[in-house]
Amino acid sequence: MSDFPTQAKVVVIGAGIVGNCVVGHLAELGWTDMVLIDKGPLPNPGGSTGHASNFIFPVDHNKEMALLGEQSANQYRDLGMSVDSGGIEVARTDERMDELNRRMTSAKAWGIEAHLLTPAQVKELVPFVNDEVIKGGFYCPTVSVVDSLETGTVMRNKALDKNALQVFANTEVLDVETSEANEHNGRRTVTAVVTDKGRIEAEHVVIASGVWSNKVANMADTYIPLVPAVHQMADVGPIDVLAETNNEIGYPIVRDMDTFCYERQSSGSMEVGSYGHRAILHHPDEIPSNEEAALSPTEMPFTQDDFDPQMETAIELMDMLGDAEIKYAINGLLSLTPDTMPCLGEVPDVENLWSAAAVWVKEGPGMGQVVAEWMTYGYPRVIDAHGADIARFYDDERSDEHIWSRADEHFIKTYGIVHPSEQWEGRRNLVTSPYFSRQEDLGAEFFQARSWERPQWYASNADLVERYDIPGRDNEWDARWWSPITVGEHLNLRENCGVVDLSAFQVYELTGPGAVEFAEYLAVNKVDKAIGSSTYTPWLNQDGGFHSDLTMMRLGEDHVRVVTGVFDGGRDEFWVRKHMPVDGSVKFTNSTMNVTTLGVWGPNAPTVLGQLTDFDLSHEGSPYGSVRDVEIATTDGPLACKLFRISYVGDSGWEIYTDWNNGPQLWDAVMEAGRDLGIRPTGGGVYGSSGRVEKGYRLMGAELESEYNPVEAGLARPKVKAADFIGKEAYLAARDKGPDAKMCTFIVEDQTSSSGVKRFMQGGNEPILTTEGERIIDSHGRGSRVTTASPGPSVGKHLLMGYLPPELAVIGNDFQVMYMNELYPIKVGAVEGSVFDPEDSRLKG
């Protein structure tokens, strides 16, 4: 045994599947001088890895989870640590059969073999299933069972073999030390890990502590928002038919989706696992130590009453389970986050403190690779991981109250059928705009964007449905979380004028002598322009992929304002702070809560605003992209505003910025001025979807991801600015090479399903296929899929956005889209441009 080190390049806390994979991947990427510690013994330190059911169902609707799951499954396979057992999700209801069709669609999107089975076919594969209680099954032959403990050992040994790692089991972390806040960016830097065996100074610290991760993060006075939650599991046996296979797993795993339960063979017995009980959440302090625990710390005492209903339904599906003995049963702990996604990447307020948490065995190796690449390259290369980026959370989302409430709400959805637009019930109205009470009065249907409430449509506009004769949607799934009013609002905006609440914009001020230079460093496009001008620009990561797309305004000699979307605020603020110059020449201020924004667009927008100001609103006085200080007349007197001429919906108009507290006056003045001009409050259904998609405008996190570059997204400008910026080298290379995919807008030519119902794709990664039904893969291995779907009311067609390989991206080319396991004909309507008003005549009008 080696002496306990006093310093190291990297300390990884936690030797479960994640910590082991992080050190393994770091070693492969050339890192040395690493220390891996765990408070428990090896190879099973007592965390969630030790009691995991260790199977991977590769199909997920979420791209990050699906691709990292597949990546992980392949890593397990390559190490010889997995067996393809196959797996079947069985349906007991018609709704679930629809969901299985949706799963077939996602399987196609990711290129995973899958089959829809009749009950009899399910019984053929798993003879002990009662086929009378099911309506069908979704069979995936590549469902695999892995050895996560052994994989952890192998990954750890990879690093040990390279002399890159020292391992210390039975070593408890007592503190994670950080520096004082840095003057230049307000962030602290991790400095050391204090353990019961000694203190290690470290350049990097990785928290891979599973259910204890938030507790460890708290030691560094920061957060990893997750909560330990119970997943019940009972091992029943012996069962002859299983024992006779003489195999760890001889039958496909069965997920009884409608009872939130699975049955997984483990040699001669069956593991019955449940996600169907009440959410049972624990504080990390309630988890016993290895010494105190009767089994392991994360195998907590079984609460039988919670499991009883599962037993009844399990016996219904497999009668043989009823007579088998319950040999072992636990309340196993796993990690839940407020939004169901993992917590990966650098902790926003502490430099070089990394989170590799809320990761389950099924995605462990892939996520380990993500974190290792993030540490190495500044951003993960294997896949865009913005959904798992720990920087995504706002403060409201990091509180225990929020984490517990959300975990409580979504636990039961683990095997649930979750609509892509599904809204949370609890923890609403965390942040509301200055117009909130007015919007409530107008019957706004609010959708929550992270912690912010935004109107999606207004019930007060119901008359527009009749006015424009807008049909409803016959299919309940398609109609869920949607209203024809949103189409009415769209058409009214195009005809008259719409007012959109944009208060959720995240607004940052960069000031100081280095502000402009720093702004240039962040942005692909030139920011150093005349005061009062703006730049819509990508921010790239070091590899030239998208980190963000946003707007930067030159407001003063030493003042640049950054305006970004609410979904990306956390990540973007982190990105700014991380890169701020150490000389202190730039000051960062988050003015989101001081500034409110109201968008006014439509042919009548200039007339509406013209009633409130004498300012020249023509394209001479207020050209596209300009930011002008203007006084707006209100009943309480003139209001100082900034008029930013821009549009995300393709119609002429402005974003009006004013002080948060003056929002209500601004709202009232604009609404009053537009009263006779057809003005209507207009929701996010138009702003974020139909208006945008008709114009082919891209959205970060949908069309724009780190896997794509501006050349592919059609956002490359003719020239490249002289100033240096993050990702420039890669960007130049991408320009030289040309795109490997092109952003397209598709028109759905016929939405009629086989049962004669008009269907509406939701934009949930539906695969875009050839007319022969084959997947389309570009030269980087990226499959074509729907990144956004929306009605195009002004073109009278349902629209889809997605990438195609350049040779296929030709207007008029025919393709198919799969939706709910059916194929629909689609045609390329635009490449890099828009299907509605491609000449942008309305913007100029």
């Binding site: 988890i287 016993p288 010494e291 009844e312 009823g322 003995e325 319950i326």
Partner: protein, 255 residues
């Protein structure tokens, strides 16, 4: 045949048992509960005896309402009747426990007839008083022997075997009899899922009885002083065999 098993709900600890700050209880915040191991075997023995010879098993516990969990567990492995004498969960002294059980047995017998056999565990896993069964037997005027690892029921007597160092002592107890059972008499079964579900339908009989405190009073619990032992590491491979045999010679056990 009617058999009664008396069981106790006890925590299921790991390698370290903590005590609450007031020293009155074991810290059970993250512990599950179980039936004291000897009693789990007593239940299994009762079930096996009635399975072989007919009859039914009643399980009795004196404990907090949560002890229903242990009664249901017994029902899930084949016991027909479950009886709880509810307490507030404060540990009772052995005399008081014995009196409560005696009175409850008398009450159960006046309703349902005499128990041919009453089984206790040899001692409880937690307080280990080694006497409740004996006191109950004495009060009921029935024979009892402890440490029993084998039971045969004959027409008019119970053959009970106690394991001692070199073998077994055999006792012949006239029926009705009582035994203090030791783990090892059998390997208790686990409940099946159907057994568990059926156990939920078994009616819980609640008997309210209490008795005066006896002369033994618990003041507080505490952990024994841990003598930090310096463990001498003799090696990290089979090469340590030499050092080990040196040690055996030194201890004089090699002759």
């Amino acid at each position: 045949m009617r058999i009664l098993c008396c069981v106790k709900r006890v925590p299921a600890p790991g390698a370290k048992i903590n005590v609450t700050e007031d020293g009155q209880q074991v810290e059970t915040a993250h512990l599950g509960f179980t039936t004291s191991p000897h009693e789990e075997c007593a239940v299994e023995e009762a079930v096996q005896l009635t399975e072989a010879q007919g009859g039914e098993v009643t399980v009795l516990t004196v404990g907090p309402p949560e002890a229903e969990e242990q009664l249901r567990y017994a029902a899930s492995v084949g016991c027909q009747n479950i009886v709880l004498v509810p307490t507030d969960g404060t540990p009772l002294d052995p005399q008081r426990t014995a009196t409560i059980i005696t009175e409850t047995v008398q009450s159960l017998e006046s309703d349902g007839g005499e128990f041919d056999l009453i089984l206790f565990g040899n001692e409880s896993a937690d307080s280990g008083g080694f006497q409740v069964g004996v006191r109950v037997a004495h009060a009921l005027g029935r024979p009892i022997v402890n440490g029993i690892k084998g039971i045969d029921i004959e027409a008019d007597q119970v053959i009970a075997r106690r394991e001692v160092d070199a073998g077994f002592e055999v006792y012949h107890l006239p029926r009705p009899a009582i035994c203090g059972v030791k783990e090892g008499i059998n390997l208790p079964r686990y409940p099946t899922m159907k057994g568990r579900l059926a156990s939920k339908k078994v009616e819980l009989e609640s008997v309210d009885t209490d008795a005066d405190a006896g002369g033994q009073l618990m003041v507080r619990l505490h952990r024994p002083q841990e003598t930090a032992k310096e463990t001498a590491i003799l090696g990290d491979s089979e090469d340590a065999a030499g050092a080990i045999v040196d040690l055996l010679e030194e201890l004089g056990v090699m002759s």
